[in-house]
Symmetry: C2
Subunit: 409 residues, 2 copies
Amino acid sequence: MSDDRPGLQPRRCEDVRLRGFSGRASVEEATAWVDAHGERLGAEAIATREATGRVLAAPVEATVNIPEAARSAEDGYAVRSRETIGAGAYNPLRFSLQPATEPLREAAAALVAAGAALPAGADAVLPFSAAQVDGAQLEVTGAVAEGMGIEREGQEVRAGTAPVAASRVLRPEDAGLLASLRVERVLVMRRPRVRLVIAGPKGSSSVRHGDADGAMLAALVARDGGVVESAVREAVGRKALAAAIAAPGADVVLVAGRTGTGPDDEAPLALAEVGELALHGVALRPGGSAGLGVAGAEGAVPVVLLPGAPPACLCAYELLAGRLIRRLGGRAPGLPHAVREAEVGGKIVSGVGSVDMCWVRFVQGRVEPIGSAEEVSLGSVARADGFVLVPAPLEGHAPGARVTVYVCG
Amino acid sequence: MSDDRPGLQPRRCEDVRLRGFSGRASVEEATAWVDAHGERLGAEAIATREATGRVLAAPVEATVNIPEAARSAEDGYAVRSRETIGAGAYNPLRFSLQPATEPLREAAAALVAAGAALPAGADAVLPFSAAQVDGAQLEVTGAVAEGMGIEREGQEVRAGTAPVAASRVLRPEDAGLLASLRVERVLVMRRPRVRLVIAGPKGSSSVRHGDADGAMLAALVARDGGVVESAVREAVGRKALAAAIAAPGADVVLVAGRTGTGPDDEAPLALAEVGELALHGVALRPGGSAGLGVAGAEGAVPVVLLPGAPPACLCAYELLAGRLIRRLGGRAPGLPHAVREAEVGGKIVSGVGSVDMCWVRFVQGRVEPIGSAEEVSLGSVARADGFVLVPAPLEGHAPGARVTVYVCG
């Protein structure tokens, strides 16, 4: 199960318990590992009506033209355009009226509704503003050019083309287009099956961490297009953790808790026992005790070790686990948050040497920090409008600096 | 059922069939009507684990402190801070080691894991980097200040406060916080129950419009937090339309199709029969035949008439129906799309006198139009990255202008 993908140096992972981390991988290294292990899963066919928000796995080819035949684009009178030449308010021309279901006679017009088939021979639709009914006749007071008020056959979509590109997240309006094309099933990327392993209990506070992590991770996985395969609660001890990590059935395993330097922080050891611990300790705050590795047959299942403290769990999820899940499901790997550029109001303090996720608020359009990355809690995260990622070489952002805010919610 | 809300002038709605619109309401007037009829619905209690993405109806009050008692914020040794004063690499101090479950003795330290309860008497946690175990003793080589490495009782959330504000869309991290607070049920805004009435059939092309509109509207309603109460397919004729509009059970009714100037465009007449047609014709392209009104007992159910041509249906949904549904459900009424400011590349052409929804692509970071608002189809919408709204007084945007793009998908 050794990793010989190019560009990934094998790391020695030491037991950090009661000692602390002697070094940490950079966020770039951890991200590169995630990208190398986040190969797209397969596809599945589902009903088109359930496909909005899913990722299209193959382009949908149109088997019919839309429209299938020329049709009226507006309500009005179908005519032969050349017969309207010269018509005007001072030179009204008289047409006979006939049903739209019969071929258009000479100097005749047929009432048509938008979307309706045209009578054979018609090549334009005259708007009501240029025609007045006068008994069985129509007085035409304006000319129309050929093709006006008409949708040509295949004008919207031509048979044989692929109007919806693969890899895109299907939009509500795509659902409409696919219904027009009579596409009842589409091939979409399979949702990554995510196992949540909540380590615990470690004193009552830690159980609470587990509850918070479990609820939060379930919601984050759903946001990123994954589905929770199973949630293993309170895996206690190395043996239970190892069994929960190794069980088949998941495309990715997230372990929350027991990643740190305490005596019972056995998640990395459990992973090493049933798979390979590729990396433990990331230069990320909060979340520095995160780890990455593989388990399962032939090491095919990536495993992300997330710290138990909820803000650290959140941060490591956003930058590592979420990226992995988005990649497996064929989504854009970057953070899914809306972004907003803004000016820093109060100084944002960060640690040199780690990427810091600093939660912030907007106050009169400027960015104000909410505590430091070290002291953050879910209570303070709940007050935030978003977060700023401060790169490792910086010790923060001074007032006046322009930063990118990832907007929460 | 007359409308005497302030600022809304009653309009006379005439039969536009075979004549055309003699005038149209401005988008501002239509929006004001929507806002006056989009009163928030009631609330319902649901399980917290299902609440992410829902709108919180009342603030959640914390009934417990988090943490409930002081706890260790990191892995290390719980100590009395004043006993570490003077410790350093050249002046190591010796402490005895004891279990964390017993009150801290003098000159003693207890191993604690992050999140664990502190022994009585401890007021700081010493990191591993400042302590080495030496048999049953601990050699302390650094001092810690009071409070270091500790989370105080209630530091994250104090009992009696409301850490999650009402009216917000619950985020994944809120799910974690609510689990920490042991909140198992929350009060959220009820989802608006939306009836979709698809008018048809009107020739085969129009049926296709109905299929497209139905699929698209179902996905749009879900996006905006509504739930489809029922979908009435192929309501044919004024009587069937009127019955579908008037039936009880929906908070809002959307009728798609039969709003134009053709002979069988009876949706406005059907609405007038069972309720009140407040407005028919909006200065909006595409979507100019949209209408607004009320039905149901005491005119309490707003009804939006959407044009049948799918791009027109989409446009009128986004600006009118979607806004109504978002308001009813307590969401921000504005367009839910991510926005991006960008420079216009190729000229965006628009009609003076109407708000035009112009679909666009980004080409090398600049905005390029995809056809005009008049000729757009779902096939061209599928190629768009977003849309620009051109205000009524303008005839478009010249190259070089800065515009706001509402990003699709």
